[in-house]
């Protein structure tokens, strides 16, 4: 059953305005939190809610917040990751365009919890409309005395700035995002030190995804227990599932974590288009290993997907039907990773290009019998061996597509 938390205002006219958001009780939670809860209590509440990062890695949000050292004498920064660029993913864009104030309220609560005085919202440069909506929303919130300096509540002030990206997927990786805000190219940083200790401008920093933060007001409003009960044992709450590809109703659907993939495809997205059969489903955006038609009863949560060798990722479901060429699909995905590899570390820089070259050669009808194994081997040498997760992101699809649909990587005539 679909549950509307983050998406609850989307259907209302002018849902992006402060007026409409307030009509639905908006900013009341922030006000109450500031008045009645300590930052520590907020962190604990979020911890208990089992909220996990909705950007892709699924790290427990409350725990992330609790890593921020207090009293270092340095400012604490909150960075909002709105660099949504994972192919198939459009959930954050919806929030930014349809209900930016829900995000801002979440940002306010998070900033209060971690003691951040400044926040940067790292927005994809291509998000023109979302940018307008968010900037307008910030202006409205500041004018209404909800954000900014010198707020009525002296416990809390927050300056929030929008920082636009410029067409680099890697900046969604949190340390590359920090580099980018600092005015550099998006080369991920080596860890340790972790951003919580030494992040933006050398200060303690928390980086949270848009959807993650949009969940926060609901947790504080209705309580951790309520939120956690919506999901599975280890993954609390609902998740936005952007569904695209060969389905009847592509769109954004909100379901509790643990909802079977099949339910989201059939009930939410209206099943496979043109009455075709499913050949495969990418369950969490371009970097998540593909599932076969036999595997789509899997519950959509972090652990269940890991168990079947894939990931929840951004939750973006891409449905591939029986007529879809797996060779062409993988080539499309790998071209993306090759284009977006930052070039800093060897296996990703060289491996992504090599993979594309091999796939292009197969697609040109010049495949060799050893190519599938070669692809698997290149991917194996990238997975787990790169500086940031992009190497894994590029390797996962190769390993799953080639293993599960091996024949399509042997005979190009069959698959095109």
């Amino acid at each position: 059953m679909s549950i509307k938390l983050v998406t609850r205002n989307f259907d209302r006219p002018d849902s992006h305005t402060l007026r409409v958001y307030r009509e639905g009780g908006g900013y009341e939670t922030l006000r109450k939190v500031l008045a009645t809860r300590t930052p520590q209590e907020v962190v604990e509440e979020v911890k208990r809610s089992n909220l996990r990062g909705r950007g892709g890695a699924g790290f427990p949000t409350g725990m992330k917040w609790s890593f921020v050292p207090r009293e270092t004498g340095k400012p604490v920064y909150l960075c909002v990751n709105a660099d949504e660029g994972e192919p198939g993913t459009f959930k954050d864009r919806f929030i930014l365009e349809q209900d930016p104030h829900m995000l801002l309220e979440g940002i306010g609560i998070a900033a209060y919890a971690i003691g951040a005085r400044y926040a940067y919202l790292y927005l994809r440069g291509e998000f023109v409309e979302a940018g307008r909506r968010v900037e307008d929303a910030i202006a409205e919130a500041c004018e209404a005395g909800l954000l900014g300096s010198d707020l009525p509540d002296s416990k809390f002030s927050l300056d929030l700035y929008v920082h636009y990206g410029a067409g680099a997927y890697i900046c969604g990786e949190e340390t590359a995002l920090l580099e980018s805000i600092e005015g550099k190219k998006g080369w991920p940083r080596v860890r340790p030190p972790f951003p919580a200790v030494k992040g933006l401008f050398g200060s303690p920093t928390v980086i949270n995804n848009v959807e993650t933060l949009a969940k926060v007001p609901h947790i504080l409003e209705k309580g951790a227990a309520w939120f956690s009960a919506l999901g599975t044992e280890k993954s609390g709450g609902t998740k936005l599932f952007p569904v695209s590809g060969k389905v009847n109703r592509p769109g954004l659907y909100e379901y509790p974590l643990g909802t079977p993939l099949r339910t989201i495809i059939d009930e939410g997205a209206g099943g496979v288009s043109a009455g075709k059969k499913i050949k495969g489903v990418i369950p969490g955006g371009a970097s998540c290993p593909v599932l076969t038609a036999d595997e789509i009863d899997v519950p959509m949560d972090y652990d269940a997907l890991a168990k079947v060798g894939s990931m929840l990722g951004s939750g973006a479901i891409i449905v591939l039907d029986e007529e879809t060429s797996m060779l062409k699909t993988l080539l499309n995905l790998e071209r993306f990773f090759a284009h977006e590899s930052c070039g800093q570390c060897t296996p990703c820089r060289e491996g992504t290009r090599w993979i594309v070259q091999v796939l292009e050669r197969i697609a040109a009808g010049k495949g060799a019998p050893e190519d599938p194994d070669l692809l698997l081997d290149i991917a194996a040498h990238m997975a787990g061996r790169t500086l940031c997760p992009l190497g894994d992101a590029a390797a996962g699809p190769v390993r799953s597509f080639v293993t599960k649909f091996r024949e399509e990587f042997l005979d190009p005539l069959n698959s095109m």
Partner: protein, 516 residues
Amino acid sequence: MPTLMIDDRKITVEPGTTVMQAADRLGIFIPRFCYHPGLSAVGSCRMCMVEVEKIPKLQTACTTPVVEGMVVHTYTEQVMDARRSVLEFLLINHPLDCPICDKAGECYLQDDYMEYARYTPRYKETRWKKRKVHILGPTIVMDEERCVLCSRCVRFLQEVTGKQRLGIFERGARSVLSTFPGQTLTDPYCGNIVDLCPVGALTDRTFRFQQRVWMLRRGESICPYCARGCNIAVDYNERSDVQINDRRVYRFRPRFNPKVNGHWICDRGRYAYRFIDDARRLREPMLREGKRLVPSGWERTLKRVARRIREVLDTFGPEGMGLILLPSVTIGTARRVRKLFVDDLGLTRIATGPSIDPEADEDSILLRRDRFPNRGGLVAAGFPDGDPGAVTEGVLRGWATGKIKLLYVIGDDLPRFFEETSSFSIPSAGGILILQRSMEGPEDDFARMLLPSAMTAETAGSFVNFEGEEQTFSAVLPPLEEALPDEEILGRLSLLLGLKGEEACRHENSVEEEQG
């Protein structure tokens, strides 16, 4: 202090040490491209991955801090597989032109391939074509196809010189190292990036195609071109059949010394290697006959020098002779000068030079404005420090006014010595100028005797740098042709002056060396 095990060997290190540093300390070599002890660790080449027990993924040794009880393995099958695969990735675009590459013989890629890889190439696709001879600056040329994008050069300029003059542009496999479009690399330290480059991407335009590195021998010396006294390696080839233009020395490179120069040297010192076999070197002792200086052999020349000194001293007393001792000589030479000219002959008019070039660059990295390597050593040998400028003035005035009848100059770089006073000439009253040095100079026109000395790399001795650090070095090469070390020239001279036997000099010298 955490204690860890690397390949079954135990080591205790300071907190914050990385696995790479601990392994280096144990002498366990972990291959690397991007890691360099003098630069920040970025973990980007992925060559140094090792197995750490209880961590499922391989870790880069250069960025992994040690923790108590850590157990590291650098030689497992998984590690070997990672090394092989990183090399395979790096060699995808490499032109494999070792036979014509200057780096061959000291290239990490070549060495590591032989050590860990030796696979049958599987890459059958089209290689990128990139620029082969990209001139980055007056001394450095780049081969983009050989570059492994380790960013050592970028980080060196950024972190050591503080100026980001090189960048890696574009991204992914298209990434390319270059200067800002249209800019050339003229940084006074940029020679270091050639040493730093682990592959054949950056090469030195003065070294290119001159020698295969395995033909070179390595000697150790001290750079004599400023008061820092950087530790250098002298790469030379004495086999005349493979020398180019009779050149013996082909490059200077830095030698690590944390107390003096760290890992680096400046280009001024680096490219001074060329002076050793330069056409302007003085090659044999010469005496003036009329307008010409004529090669005369050591015995005849030094006898003439001794006779002139005796004549002047006998006629005018010690006041009639002046001596300029430049701080480019060794402590041993300075002591010898003191013994011979001060103690035995009673000279008072001795200058050691102002010679701090006010125009010269000085920075917080290495370069010192004082261009001489042994000012402290002269003080140690008993020459006045104080205000040498005034002493120098006195000597020069005495020479210009004809009070000094004979001026003996020991050491190189005389022109700079006179920069602030006047240009050097023979006073109208006449005078005898004796120059003992290694390079030709404009003053040679006035000299009555030229005594060719060995250069630092051809000499044993010691210098005291501006921070008081005494550094001893031995001769890397024999002196060029008939040139001799200053100390030996002075020893022979004192024998001819009947002051002290050569044997005694040699003995004293060896005692000093043992003590040093």
